[in-house]
Protein backbone atom coordinates (compact mmCIF):
# COMPACT_ATOMS: atom_id res chain seq x y z
CA UNK A 1 0.00 0.00 0.00
CA UNK A 2 2.77 2.39 1.00
CA UNK A 3 4.64 1.71 -2.24
CA UNK A 4 1.51 2.53 -4.26
CA UNK A 5 1.10 5.86 -2.41
CA UNK A 6 4.77 6.75 -2.94
CA UNK A 7 4.53 5.92 -6.65
CA UNK A 8 1.31 7.96 -6.97
CA UNK A 9 2.97 10.89 -5.21
CA UNK A 10 6.03 10.68 -7.45
CA UNK A 11 3.79 10.64 -10.50
CA UNK A 12 1.78 13.61 -9.19
CA UNK A 13 4.95 15.62 -8.57
CA UNK A 14 6.21 14.76 -12.03
CA UNK A 15 2.93 16.00 -13.51
CA UNK A 16 3.08 19.20 -11.42
CA UNK A 17 6.68 19.82 -12.48
CA UNK A 18 5.75 19.25 -16.12
CA UNK A 19 2.74 21.58 -15.89
CA UNK A 20 4.85 24.29 -14.20
CA UNK A 21 7.57 23.98 -16.85
CA UNK A 22 5.04 24.32 -19.66
CA UNK A 23 3.26 27.26 -17.99
CA UNK A 24 6.45 29.15 -17.22
CA UNK A 25 7.94 28.69 -20.72
CA UNK A 26 8.68 32.22 -21.89
CA UNK A 27 7.00 33.19 -25.12
CA UNK A 28 7.93 36.13 -27.30
CA UNK A 29 5.89 38.26 -29.64
CA UNK A 30 6.76 40.69 -32.37
CA UNK A 31 5.62 42.23 -35.63
CA UNK A 32 7.62 43.46 -38.58
CA UNK A 33 7.32 47.27 -38.60
CA UNK A 34 7.11 49.16 -41.90
CA UNK A 35 10.42 49.92 -43.58
CA UNK A 36 12.23 53.03 -42.32
CA UNK A 37 9.79 53.66 -39.47
CA UNK A 38 11.59 54.77 -36.33
CA UNK A 39 11.26 53.56 -32.77
CA UNK A 40 9.65 55.97 -30.35
CA UNK A 41 11.52 56.73 -27.16
CA UNK A 42 10.46 53.97 -24.70
CA UNK A 43 10.44 56.56 -21.89
CA UNK A 44 7.53 58.33 -23.62
CA UNK A 45 5.31 55.25 -23.68
CA UNK A 46 2.30 54.71 -21.43
CA UNK A 47 2.21 51.75 -19.08
CA UNK A 48 1.48 48.47 -20.89
CA UNK A 49 2.63 49.94 -24.22
CA UNK A 50 5.75 47.97 -25.08
CA UNK A 51 6.88 49.51 -28.30
CA UNK A 52 5.89 52.18 -30.78
CA UNK A 53 7.09 52.90 -34.30
CA UNK A 54 6.68 56.24 -36.03
CA UNK A 55 6.48 56.74 -39.79
CA UNK A 56 6.94 59.75 -42.00
CA UNK A 57 3.58 60.83 -43.33
CA UNK A 58 2.52 63.58 -45.71
CA UNK A 59 0.85 65.60 -42.97
CA UNK A 60 2.05 66.96 -39.63
CA UNK A 61 0.41 63.97 -37.97
CA UNK A 62 2.88 61.12 -38.31
CA UNK A 63 1.54 57.61 -38.69
CA UNK A 64 2.34 55.24 -35.83
CA UNK A 65 1.98 51.64 -34.75
CA UNK A 66 2.24 50.49 -31.16
CA UNK A 67 1.64 47.35 -29.16
CA UNK A 68 0.28 47.09 -25.63
CA UNK A 69 -0.23 43.91 -23.65
CA UNK A 70 -2.01 42.89 -20.46
CA UNK A 71 -2.63 39.71 -18.49
CA UNK A 72 -6.32 38.89 -18.44
CA UNK A 73 -8.56 36.54 -16.48
CA UNK A 74 -11.50 36.58 -18.88
CA UNK A 75 -12.10 34.82 -22.18
CA UNK A 76 -11.05 36.35 -25.48
CA UNK A 77 -14.65 37.17 -26.40
CA UNK A 78 -15.25 38.85 -23.05
CA UNK A 79 -12.08 40.93 -23.39
CA UNK A 80 -13.05 42.04 -26.89
CA UNK A 81 -16.55 42.98 -25.63
CA UNK A 82 -14.98 45.09 -22.87
CA UNK A 83 -12.77 46.91 -25.39
CA UNK A 84 -15.68 47.48 -27.80
CA UNK A 85 -17.83 48.89 -24.98
CA UNK A 86 -14.97 51.14 -23.86
CA UNK A 87 -14.60 52.62 -27.35
CA UNK A 88 -18.37 52.96 -27.87
CA UNK A 89 -18.70 54.76 -24.53
CA UNK A 90 -15.97 57.24 -25.46
CA UNK A 91 -17.68 60.37 -26.82
CA UNK A 92 -14.53 61.39 -28.68
CA UNK A 93 -14.33 58.17 -30.68
CA UNK A 94 -16.39 56.96 -33.59
CA UNK A 95 -16.23 53.15 -33.52
CA UNK A 96 -16.64 50.62 -36.32
CA UNK A 97 -16.04 46.87 -36.13
CA UNK A 98 -14.21 45.52 -39.17
CA UNK A 99 -14.47 41.79 -38.45
CA UNK A 100 -11.42 39.54 -38.18
CA UNK A 101 -7.90 39.62 -39.55
CA UNK A 102 -5.45 36.72 -39.72
CA UNK A 103 -2.01 37.26 -38.23
CA UNK A 104 0.95 34.84 -38.38
CA UNK A 105 -0.09 33.31 -35.06
CA UNK A 106 -3.72 34.07 -34.30
CA UNK A 107 -6.95 35.53 -35.56
CA UNK A 108 -7.43 39.12 -34.38
CA UNK A 109 -10.53 41.28 -33.97
CA UNK A 110 -10.16 44.42 -36.04
CA UNK A 111 -11.64 47.83 -35.26
CA UNK A 112 -11.63 51.23 -36.91
CA UNK A 113 -11.63 54.26 -34.64
CA UNK A 114 -12.03 57.85 -35.80
CA UNK A 115 -11.20 60.82 -33.62
CA UNK A 116 -10.37 64.51 -33.87
CA UNK A 117 -6.94 65.89 -33.01
CA UNK A 118 -5.21 69.27 -33.27
CA UNK A 119 -3.85 68.03 -36.60
CA UNK A 120 -7.28 67.18 -37.99
CA UNK A 121 -9.32 63.97 -38.11
CA UNK A 122 -7.37 60.81 -37.45
CA UNK A 123 -8.22 57.21 -38.13
CA UNK A 124 -6.93 54.31 -36.06
CA UNK A 125 -6.93 50.63 -36.87
CA UNK A 126 -6.81 48.38 -33.84
CA UNK A 127 -6.24 44.63 -33.73
CA UNK A 128 -6.95 42.68 -30.53
CA UNK A 129 -5.44 39.23 -30.10
CA UNK A 130 -5.99 37.05 -27.05
CA UNK A 131 -3.70 34.12 -26.44
CA UNK A 132 -3.34 32.13 -23.21
CA UNK A 133 -4.63 34.73 -20.72
CA UNK A 134 -2.78 37.56 -22.41
CA UNK A 135 -4.24 40.30 -24.59
CA UNK A 136 -2.14 41.92 -27.31
CA UNK A 137 -3.46 45.22 -28.67
CA UNK A 138 -1.92 46.66 -31.82
CA UNK A 139 -2.98 50.16 -32.81
CA UNK A 140 -2.01 52.03 -35.93
CA UNK A 141 -2.92 55.69 -36.36
CA UNK A 142 -2.86 57.87 -39.44
CA UNK A 143 -4.29 61.16 -40.69
CA UNK A 144 -7.63 60.63 -42.44
CA UNK A 145 -6.16 61.99 -45.72
CA UNK A 146 -3.63 59.15 -45.74
CA UNK A 147 -6.01 56.38 -44.78
CA UNK A 148 -6.31 54.88 -48.25
CA UNK A 149 -2.60 54.19 -48.64
CA UNK A 150 -1.42 53.98 -45.03
CA UNK A 151 -4.12 51.53 -43.90
CA UNK A 152 -2.61 48.86 -46.18
CA UNK A 153 0.79 49.34 -44.53
CA UNK A 154 -0.76 49.13 -41.06
CA UNK A 155 -2.76 45.99 -41.89
CA UNK A 156 0.32 44.30 -43.37
CA UNK A 157 2.15 45.02 -40.12
CA UNK A 158 -0.73 43.56 -38.07
CA UNK A 159 -0.63 40.43 -40.23
CA UNK A 160 3.07 39.97 -39.47
CA UNK A 161 2.37 39.64 -35.74
CA UNK A 162 3.50 36.37 -34.22
CA UNK A 163 3.83 34.71 -30.84
CA UNK A 164 6.78 32.33 -30.68
CA UNK A 165 8.60 30.24 -28.09
CA UNK A 166 11.99 30.73 -29.70
CA UNK A 167 13.00 33.90 -31.53
CA UNK A 168 15.99 32.31 -33.22
CA UNK A 169 13.73 29.74 -34.91
CA UNK A 170 12.10 32.62 -36.81
CA UNK A 171 15.22 32.78 -38.97
CA UNK A 172 14.42 30.62 -42.00
CA UNK A 173 17.93 30.52 -43.45
CA UNK A 174 19.72 27.66 -41.68
CA UNK A 175 23.21 29.10 -42.11
CA UNK A 176 22.15 32.45 -40.68
CA UNK A 177 20.31 30.76 -37.83
CA UNK A 178 23.40 28.75 -36.91
CA UNK A 179 25.53 31.89 -37.09
CA UNK A 180 23.17 33.64 -34.69
CA UNK A 181 23.09 30.66 -32.31
CA UNK A 182 26.89 30.64 -32.29
CA UNK A 183 26.99 34.36 -31.52
CA UNK A 184 24.53 33.88 -28.66
CA UNK A 185 26.58 30.99 -27.26
CA UNK A 186 29.62 33.26 -27.51
CA UNK A 187 28.03 35.58 -24.94
CA UNK A 188 28.50 33.02 -22.18
CA UNK A 189 31.56 34.87 -20.87
CA UNK A 190 30.28 38.39 -21.47
CA UNK A 191 29.76 40.51 -18.39
CA UNK A 192 28.56 43.76 -19.95
CA UNK A 193 27.30 45.23 -23.21
CA UNK A 194 30.75 46.82 -23.63
CA UNK A 195 32.40 43.42 -24.08
CA UNK A 196 33.79 42.46 -27.49
CA UNK A 197 31.49 39.45 -27.82
CA UNK A 198 28.40 41.54 -27.11
CA UNK A 199 29.43 44.19 -29.67
CA UNK A 200 29.97 41.43 -32.24
CA UNK A 201 26.57 39.91 -31.44
CA UNK A 202 24.81 43.30 -31.58
CA UNK A 203 26.40 44.12 -34.94
CA UNK A 204 25.35 40.75 -36.35
CA UNK A 205 21.72 41.09 -35.18
CA UNK A 206 21.38 44.64 -36.52
CA UNK A 207 23.14 44.05 -39.83
CA UNK A 208 22.19 40.53 -40.90
CA UNK A 209 18.60 40.25 -39.71
CA UNK A 210 16.99 43.43 -40.99
CA UNK A 211 14.21 41.50 -42.71
CA UNK A 212 12.77 40.44 -39.34
CA UNK A 213 12.48 44.06 -38.24
CA UNK A 214 13.61 46.11 -35.29
CA UNK A 215 11.01 44.67 -32.93
CA UNK A 216 12.48 41.18 -33.38
CA UNK A 217 16.06 42.54 -33.21
CA UNK A 218 15.33 44.27 -29.92
CA UNK A 219 13.70 41.19 -28.46
CA UNK A 220 16.65 38.97 -29.43
CA UNK A 221 19.09 41.40 -27.82
CA UNK A 222 17.00 41.77 -24.68
CA UNK A 223 16.60 38.01 -24.38
CA UNK A 224 20.36 37.49 -24.73
CA UNK A 225 21.01 40.27 -22.23
CA UNK A 226 18.64 38.72 -19.69
CA UNK A 227 20.13 35.26 -20.20
CA UNK A 228 23.80 36.18 -20.02
CA UNK A 229 24.66 39.73 -18.98
CA UNK A 230 22.11 40.36 -16.22
CA UNK A 231 22.71 36.87 -14.80
CA UNK A 232 26.43 37.51 -14.53
CA UNK A 233 25.85 40.57 -12.27
Amino acid sequence: MEIVIIRTLKFLYFLTFLACSVCSAKSHHFFVPPNKWKLADPKQLSPMVEMCFLGKGKTAFHPSINIATEEIDVSGNEYVSIVVKMHKDDPNIEFRGLGKIKTQSNIADLFELTTKTNFGPVKMLQAVIVNEHKAYVLTGAMHIDEFKTMSKTILKTFQSFQIVDNLVNCVNDQAKREKLEKAIDGLANSKSTKDKDWKKFEKLVLKDFKELGEFWQLQVMKDAYDSYISNSK
Binding site: M1, E2, I5, L12, T16, K38, L39, A40, D41, P42, K43, Q44, L45, S46, P47, M48, V49, C52, F53, L54, G55, K56, A60, F61, H62, P63, S64, I65, N66, I67, A68, T69, E70, D73, Y79, I82, V83, M86, H87, T115, T117, N118, V122, M124, Q126, V128, A135, Y136, V137, T139, G140, A141, M142, T193, E214, L218, M221, K222, Y225, I229
Partner: protein
Protein backbone atom coordinates in the same frame (compact mmCIF):
# COMPACT_ATOMS: atom_id res chain seq x y z
CA UNK B 1 5.17 7.45 7.12
CA UNK B 2 1.83 7.01 5.34
CA UNK B 3 0.31 9.86 7.36
CA UNK B 4 3.22 12.15 6.52
CA UNK B 5 2.87 11.43 2.82
CA UNK B 6 -0.88 12.03 2.89
CA UNK B 7 -0.32 15.31 4.74
CA UNK B 8 2.19 16.40 2.11
CA UNK B 9 -0.24 15.53 -0.68
CA UNK B 10 -3.06 17.41 1.07
CA UNK B 11 -0.98 20.56 1.64
CA UNK B 12 0.22 20.57 -1.98
CA UNK B 13 -3.34 20.27 -3.28
CA UNK B 14 -4.51 23.00 -0.90
CA UNK B 15 -1.77 25.45 -1.91
CA UNK B 16 -2.52 24.90 -5.62
CA UNK B 17 -6.25 25.46 -5.18
CA UNK B 18 -5.66 28.59 -3.07
CA UNK B 19 -3.34 29.93 -5.73
CA UNK B 20 -5.92 29.24 -8.43
CA UNK B 21 -8.53 31.18 -6.44
CA UNK B 22 -6.43 34.26 -5.64
CA UNK B 23 -5.05 34.91 -9.13
CA UNK B 24 -8.35 35.89 -10.83
CA UNK B 25 -9.34 38.03 -7.83
CA UNK B 26 -6.13 40.04 -8.13
CA UNK B 27 -6.69 40.41 -11.86
CA UNK B 28 -10.26 41.59 -11.42
CA UNK B 29 -9.10 44.48 -9.25
CA UNK B 30 -7.37 46.03 -12.24
CA UNK B 31 -9.43 47.72 -14.91
CA UNK B 32 -9.77 45.38 -17.86
CA UNK B 33 -9.12 46.78 -21.30
CA UNK B 34 -6.36 49.09 -20.03
CA UNK B 35 -3.97 47.86 -22.72
CA UNK B 36 -6.43 48.91 -25.43
CA UNK B 37 -6.98 52.29 -23.74
CA UNK B 38 -3.23 53.01 -23.45
CA UNK B 39 -2.57 51.76 -26.96
CA UNK B 40 -5.28 54.04 -28.37
CA UNK B 41 -4.00 57.01 -26.39
CA UNK B 42 -0.37 56.54 -27.41
CA UNK B 43 -1.20 56.02 -31.08
CA UNK B 44 -2.41 59.60 -31.37
CA UNK B 45 -0.26 61.23 -28.67
CA UNK B 46 3.07 59.97 -30.05
CA UNK B 47 2.04 60.63 -33.65
CA UNK B 48 1.79 64.31 -32.82
CA UNK B 49 5.43 64.40 -31.74
CA UNK B 50 8.07 65.33 -34.25
CA UNK B 51 9.25 62.46 -36.42
CA UNK B 52 12.82 63.37 -35.52
CA UNK B 53 12.23 62.02 -32.03
CA UNK B 54 12.30 58.48 -33.43
CA UNK B 55 15.35 56.58 -32.25
CA UNK B 56 17.77 54.08 -33.71
CA UNK B 57 17.35 50.51 -32.48
CA UNK B 58 20.75 50.51 -30.80
CA UNK B 59 19.81 53.55 -28.68
CA UNK B 60 16.51 51.98 -27.68
CA UNK B 61 18.32 48.77 -26.76
CA UNK B 62 20.52 50.76 -24.43
CA UNK B 63 17.50 52.62 -23.06
CA UNK B 64 15.74 49.34 -22.33
CA UNK B 65 18.73 47.45 -21.00
CA UNK B 66 20.44 50.06 -18.85
CA UNK B 67 17.46 50.91 -16.59
CA UNK B 68 16.65 47.22 -16.17
CA UNK B 69 20.15 46.55 -14.88
CA UNK B 70 20.37 49.51 -12.54
CA UNK B 71 16.87 50.18 -11.20
CA UNK B 72 13.43 48.69 -11.43
CA UNK B 73 11.78 52.09 -11.27
CA UNK B 74 10.21 53.67 -14.32
CA UNK B 75 8.48 57.01 -14.44
CA UNK B 76 5.83 57.77 -17.01
CA UNK B 77 5.03 61.25 -18.06
CA UNK B 78 1.33 60.54 -18.70
CA UNK B 79 -1.14 61.36 -16.02
Amino acid sequence: MKRALLLLLFSTTLSFSLNARTTPREGSARRKGSAAAYSTFDSTALSMLLWGTGLAVVIVTAAILIPSSSSGDSNHSHS
